[in-house]
Amino acid sequence: MFRFFGFRALRAAITIVMVVTFAFVVLRLSGDPALLIMSVDAPPEAVAAFRTSWGLDEPLWVQYVRYFAAIFEGDLGRSMRDGRPALDLVVERIPATLALTIPALFIKLGLGIPAGITAALHRNSLLDRTVMALAVAGFTVPSFVLGLLLVLLFAVQLGWLPSGGQESWRHAILPVVTLGIGGAAVLARFTRSAMLEVLGQPYIRTASAKGVPWRQVVRGHALPNAAIPTVTIIGFMVGSLIAGAVVVESVFSWPGVGRLLVVAVANRDLAVVQCILLLVAATMVTANMIVDLLYGLLDPRLRNAPRGAGG
C-alpha cells in the first residue's frame, strides 16, 4: 500500500513540475509582460525599471530557479497588475467557480449515469437511439455555442433568466446547465458502453442462470462492474472542478477562476497564470489519485496490484 502510494505521489509531483515548467517557458517566450502592462508608448527607462523590479531582465534559467525556490517557501509571486499576492487573487475567485462547477457535476452524474444505464438496458431500441442522439448532440456542440443558444432562448426570447453576471442564484442557472449538459452527454456515452461491455460477460448469464431476477442482476452484478471504468471519467470531471469552466465563465461574465485565467493570460500576468495552472494540475492529480484508490475498492483484482503483473 505504501509503495503504491509512494510511487503515485512521486508521479504526481513530476506531473505538476512538468506543467509548471511548461507554463513558465511558454509564457515567457510568447510575449513581453512589460510592454503589455505598461502602455506601448511608455518611456524605455520605465519599461526597463519594470523588468528589473520583476526580475525579467535575468536569464530565463535564473528566473526559473528563483521561481521554484519561492514556491517551496509558499510564495507564488505577485500579480504584475496590482501587486497583490497571486495566490490571494486566485483563491478569492474559487468559490464563484465552485458555485457553477459543483451543481454542474451533480447534473452530469444525475443525468448522465441513469441515461447511459437506461440506454444500455434497452440497446438498439428507440429509447437508446434517442438518448444517444441527444448525447452526441450534447457533447459535439461546443459549450460557448450551447451557452449562447440558451441565452438566446431563455434570456433574450423568453426573458426568464438573466444572460450574465453574478447578482443572484438565478444568474447561475444558465451557466450551470450549459456545463452540466456537455458533461452529462459524455458520461452517458461512457456509462452506456461500460454497461454494454459488462452485460455481455458470462457472469451476467451465470447470475440469470441461477435464478437472480433481472433487476437484481443489473443492480447487484452489472453495475458494480460497470462502475470501474466509469469512475475514471468521473474522476476527470472532479479534477476539472476548478478550471473546467473557463469558456462558460467568459460567455456568462461569471467572475470565477476561469475568467481570471483568461484576463491574466491576455495581460501576461505571469504569476497569476502560473498560480492557476499549478492549482489546476494539483487538483487534477489529486483527483487521479482518488480514482486509483477507488479502483482498489471497486475491483478486488487490483487490490494487490503492486506485486506486479504476474501476481
Binding site: Q201, P202, Y203, R205, T206, A207, S208, A209, K210, G211, V212, P213, W214, G220, H221, P224, N225, L298, D299, P300, R301
Partner: protein, 321 residues
C-alpha cells in the same frame, strides 16, 4: 412422464437458423450427453430452453418441465426454474463468476433465492457445498474472490452454486473444455458422484465423445442445428447409424496399432444462411443418395432406444450386422 421434454425447438439469430427443430427428452436422474462440433446448436438448445438467449433470438417450439410449458413463461416463473429446478454451468469458469463478489456471496445468493437461507445459515450451507464439491479449506475460500482460485476450483464453485438450489437437472455446458486433462477427469468424476448421490439428471454438452462416454448413459449427436442420432452410449460406439456419427468416431485416434493419419470428415459445416434443402450432412456424406438432397430426413428407429435421421440408417444397420 419425462422430466424435460423439448419439442420442435427452433432458434434463429437475425434470420440465420441456429436450431432447426430439436426433439429431445430427459428423464429424472438420467445422464444425457449432447455432442457435436462448435456452432451445431448444443449449447443454444439449453440456453433457449431456459430463456437465457439475448432478446434478438427468435425462438419457437415447446419446452416442458414435468408437463409445464416454460418456453416464453413469465420472468418470475423462469427465475424459479433457473437454479431452482434446472441449473446450468458453463465452459469458462474464470469469467463465469462475478469478479467483484466473494465466492461465499455468490453461493449464498442462490441459497437465498431458492431455499430462503440468509446470514449465518446461508454461510454454513455455502461452506458445506464447497466441501461437497471438494474445495479444500472451504471456510476460508468463502471470503476469496474468483481471481484467487484456479480454473478447476472456480468450476467447482460453479457446481456448488448450481447445487445450491437442489435442482432436478444440471446442464453442464462444456464444463471441462477450459481445464487441463487431470482436472477434467476430476470434474467429470465429481459430476457423476453428485448426480448419483442427489438423484439429479445431467445433461453434459461436449464436443468430445470421450468425455460423454465417461459420464453419460445416452447420447444425442447434433449436426447443423438438428439431432441426427440418439442412442445409448455403448451402441453409439458399437453401431453408429448416421454417417456423421461414423465420421466422428473415425476421427478419434486409436489408442493402439500403427500410427496413421486421422480420418477427417471432408468439407465444411454448411452456412446457416444457405442450408441445403435436404439432409444438411449430404454434401459431405460419402454414402449419400439422390433422395438425400430432396427432403430433410426424419429420425427413424434403428433399434430399441436408437434413432437416426438418415435415409440409409436401417440399411446400414443391416450391413454392419
Amino acid at each position: 412422464m419425462s422430466l424435460v421434454a423439448i419439442r420442435d425447438l427452433a432458434v434463429s439469430f437475425d434470420g440465420a437458423p441456429a436450431l432447426r427443430g430439436i426433439d429431445v427428452e430427459i428423464n429424472s436422474g438420467e445422464a444425457l450427453g449432447m455432442v457435436g462440433e462448435s456452432g451445431c446448436g448444443k449449447s443454444v438448445t439449453w440456453l433457449a430452453a431456459l430463456g437465457l438467449l439475448p432478446g434478438k433470438a427468435r425462438i419457437s417450439g415447446s419446452v416442458r418441465l414435468e408437463g409445464q410449458e416454460i418456453l416464453g413463461a413469465t420472468p418470475a416463473t423462469l427465475d424459479r426454474v433457473r437454479g431452482g429446478r434446472v441449473a446450468m454451468i458453463f465452459q469458462d469458469p474464470a469469467s463465469s463468476l462475478n469478479p467483484v463478489h466473494r465466492i461465499g456471496k455468490q453461493v449464498s445468493e442462490a441459497l437465498s433465492l431458492h431455499r430462503g437461507l440468509r446470514g449465518a445459515a446461508a454461510r454454513a450451507e455455502a461452506r458445506r457445498l464447497l466441501d461437497l464439491v471438494g474445495i479444500p479449506d472451504a471456510a476460508r475460500r468463502l471470503d476469496a474472490y474468483p481471481h484467487e482460485l484456479s480454473g478447476g476450483q472456480n468450476q467447482r464453485v460453479m457446481i456448488a452454486i448450481a447445487l445450491a438450489g437442489q435442482p432436478e437437472l444440471l446442464v453442464a455446458d462444456e464444463p471441462t473444455t477450459a481445464l487441463d486433462v487431470t482436472i477434467q477427469a476430476q470434474i467429470l468424476d465429481l459430476l457423476g458422484t453428485l448426480r448419483r448421490e442427489m438423484n439429479m439428471a445431467l445433461v453434459l454438452i461436449s464436443h468430445d465423445l470421450g468425455v460423454i462416454a465417461e459420464a453419460c448413459e445416452r447420447v444425442a449427436v447434433m449436426y447443423a442445428g438438428r439431432i441426427v442420432e440418439e442412442a445409448p452410449i455403448a451402441r453409439i460406439f458399437a453401431a453408429p447409424a448416421h454417417p456423421y456419427t461414423q465420421g466422428l468416431l473415425g476421427a478419434l485416434p486409436p489408442i493402439d496399432g500403427e500410427r496413421q493419419p486421422l480420418a477427417a470428415i471432408p468439407g465444411q459445416v454448411p452456412d446457416p444462411r444457405a442450408m441445403p434443402p435436404g439432409c444438411a450432412f449430404a454434401p459431405r456424406c460419402a454414402v449419400r443418395l439422390d433422395a438425400c438432397a430432396a427432403a430433410m430426413p426424419e429420425g427413424r428407429a434403428v433399434a430399441e432406444g436408437h434413432r437416426a435421421a438418415c435415409l440409409r440408417a436401417g440399411a446400414m444397420e443391416r450391413v454392419l450386422a
